[in-house]
């Protein structure tokens, strides 16, 4: 289709999704393009934004002028294949890509630059096999794709926000600057300058937040008293005007949103029971004169989406006594456990399955436990399987046996220190 065959013979009959491994193999044995075009390929991450059209026009013009070998229009998946709705969202992404490709081709045809007809237009959907969490993940996916396709430049749409429902704490541009790719933001006029951390305001979000705050206000007051009704409407209006772009990151939808709330209600008693059970175990450990605790730091890679699902899971883990979420680094949760019992319960992944049940439904909740998936690691103690990713900074706690290394500790890599700790631990026994 869009994948022009002369660039890489191996993937001539391939699907337009451009699976990374195939493309990598293809790029390895095709250096033919290098001779014709002076510059390599350009990658343009695509999202349906207000400036997509002008970005595409700019890219086509620049590529034709520089003699770039190809323009790769890529959409980074905001879904994970196999999740509910993933098919619709993949189809929507294909439509956007198709439109962008049509624009690019038209612009190239209109271009007067002699090299214009040699520029091929390629589209691809990237990263649909995994949940992507932050700028680092996007950059990793983009860099792999660039490597596989001999691309050396990324042109960003100024309005580009990868994955509509994710707030990036670290701008994509900054993360991209750590790669060999050169990055450029398309110099196009942007209609309005929006602040970061804000998602788009939509009627659905506004109405949902208005209803929620009004209901909450009336619950606290007296719903039948006219004064409360009037002040409630005013308060809810203020809340929804100021916060509807901040507090909700996806549009409420029927039947998805009510179903999530219903399934969440089912989860509440389950969680309460888990809390009670674990609390009894932990209370016994604390009150035991010998206090038989065996705390360790653990890592668990979880398969839930970023944002609200991850927050629900991390909060549930922390609520359950004996386990405490310390860090969430993309899909890796660093969880401190007080007793091995709590750790084993964590690795059995029942909370993860419940979170998936709430957000994605019953079918998606059936997945192997993190232990079966080999997504768990113990970072401390005699059973440690991985090093603790902590920088024992100066002033950080290094125990007596390491005191001699204290001066080196500041500039030594974090891994070596924690492995010292681990080996001391083993020899002590």
């Amino acid at each position: 289709m869009w994948w022009v065959a002369d660039a890489d013979p191996a993937s001539g009959g391939d699907d337009p999704d451009g699976d990374a491994p195939d493309a990598a193999a293809a790029a390895a044995d095709s250096d033919a393009t290098g001779a014709s075009g002076s510059a390599g390929a350009v990658i343009v991450p695509v999202e349906p934004s207000s400036t997509l059209r002008s970005t595409v026009a700019h890219v086509a013009e620049a590529a034709a002028a520089d003699g770039a070998s190809a323009i790769h229009l890529v959409e980074i998946a905001s879904w994970r294949n196999g999740d509910p709705e993933s098919e619709e969202r993949a189809a929507a992404a294909e439509r956007v890509l198709e439109r962008a490709a049509a624009w690019t081709t038209a612009d190239l045809d209109d271009s007067e630059a002699p090299a214009a007809p040699d520029v091929e237009v390629v589209t691809a959907v990237l990263g649909a096999d995994d949940y992507l969490f932050g700028a680092d993940d996007y950059v990793r996916v983009l860099a792999e794709y660039a490597e596989a396709n001999d691309a050396d430049r990324v042109v960003l749409d100024p309005e580009y926000t990868p994955v509509g429902n994710t707030t990036l704490l670290q701008p994509l541009e900054f993360a991209l600057s750590n790669t060999p790719l050169s990055v450029e933001t398309a110099p196009v006029d942007r209609p309005t300058r929006r602040e970061r951390f804000r998602t788009e305001a939509t009627t659905g979000r506004f109405v949902a937040l208005f209803g929620l705050s009004l209901a909450f206000y009336l619950l606290l007051g007296n719903p039948t008293y006219w004064f409360d009704a009037v002040t409630g409407v005013a308060t809810a209006a203020i809340v929804s005007i100021t916060l509807s772009r901040v507090s909700l990151d996806s549009n409420p939808a029927i039947p998805r949103t009510p179903m999530r709330i219903l399934r969440g209600l089912i989860y509440v008693p389950v969680l309460l029971f888990e809390i009670l059970k674990a609390n009894l175990v932990v209370a016994r450990v604390i009150l035991d004169p010998r206090m038989p605790i065996e705390p360790t730091m653990n890592r668990m890679r979880v398969i839930v989406g970023s944002g609200l699902p991850l927050m629900t899971l991390a909060n549930s883990i922390t609520l359950t006594p004996g386990t405490l979420t310390v860090r969430a680094r993309d899909s890796d949760l660093y969880v401190h456990s007080l007793v091995p019992w709590a750790r084993e319960g964590l690795f059995d992944g029942s909370l993860e399955r419940w979170t998936r049940f709430i957000y994605y439904g019953r079918r998606s909740a059936r997945l192997p436990t993190p232990r079966e998936r080999d997504d768990v690691a113990i970072l401390q103690g005699p059973d440690a399987t991985e090093e603790l990713p902590i920088a024992a900074a100066a002033g950080g706690v290094v125990d007596a046996s390491d005191a001699a290394d204290g001066i080196d500790a500041a500039d030594a890599s974090d891994g070596s220190i924690s492995s010292d700790d681990a080996s001391d631990e083993v020899t002590d026994r």
Partner: protein
């Protein structure tokens, strides 16, 4: 004893039992904060046993005042605690982790 008086007595005892349970878990939480070795394990017990302590306390309040009026608000309060408590514990633990504090493990000298 009439039926109404019997339910009233049962209600009072239920409130007493829930209050005692709440006190027990708050006590455990306090003992844990004093006994446990490092910031991570203390963050566990400071937030968690407390959640149940506050939970039973609020349940006692709800039954005392009746679910119709203020009792409902205590359920909302419980919801609030269940959202904010783990968040605070996470913030403390995360700050400690970023400071580079290595979690205490068995055999560690520091207490």
């Amino acid at each position: 004893m009439t039926a109404a008086a019997a339910t009233e007595t049962a209600r009072v005892w239920l409130v007493v039992a829930l209050t005692l349970l709440g006190l027990f878990f708050s006590f455990v939480s306090m003992v844990g904060v004093l006994r446990l070795p490092d910031v991570y394990s203390r963050a566990h017990t400071a937030s968690q046993a407390d959640t149940l302590g506050a939970g039973f306390g609020l349940a006692a309040v709800a039954i005392t005042v009746g679910l119709a009026g203020a009792g409902f608000k205590s359920v909302l309060l419980l919801f609030f605690i269940f959202v904010t408590n783990p968040t605070a514990a996470h913030a403390i633990a995360r700050a400690a982790f970023e400071e580079g504090i290595v979690p205490w493990i068995e055999g560690d000298d520091r207490r």
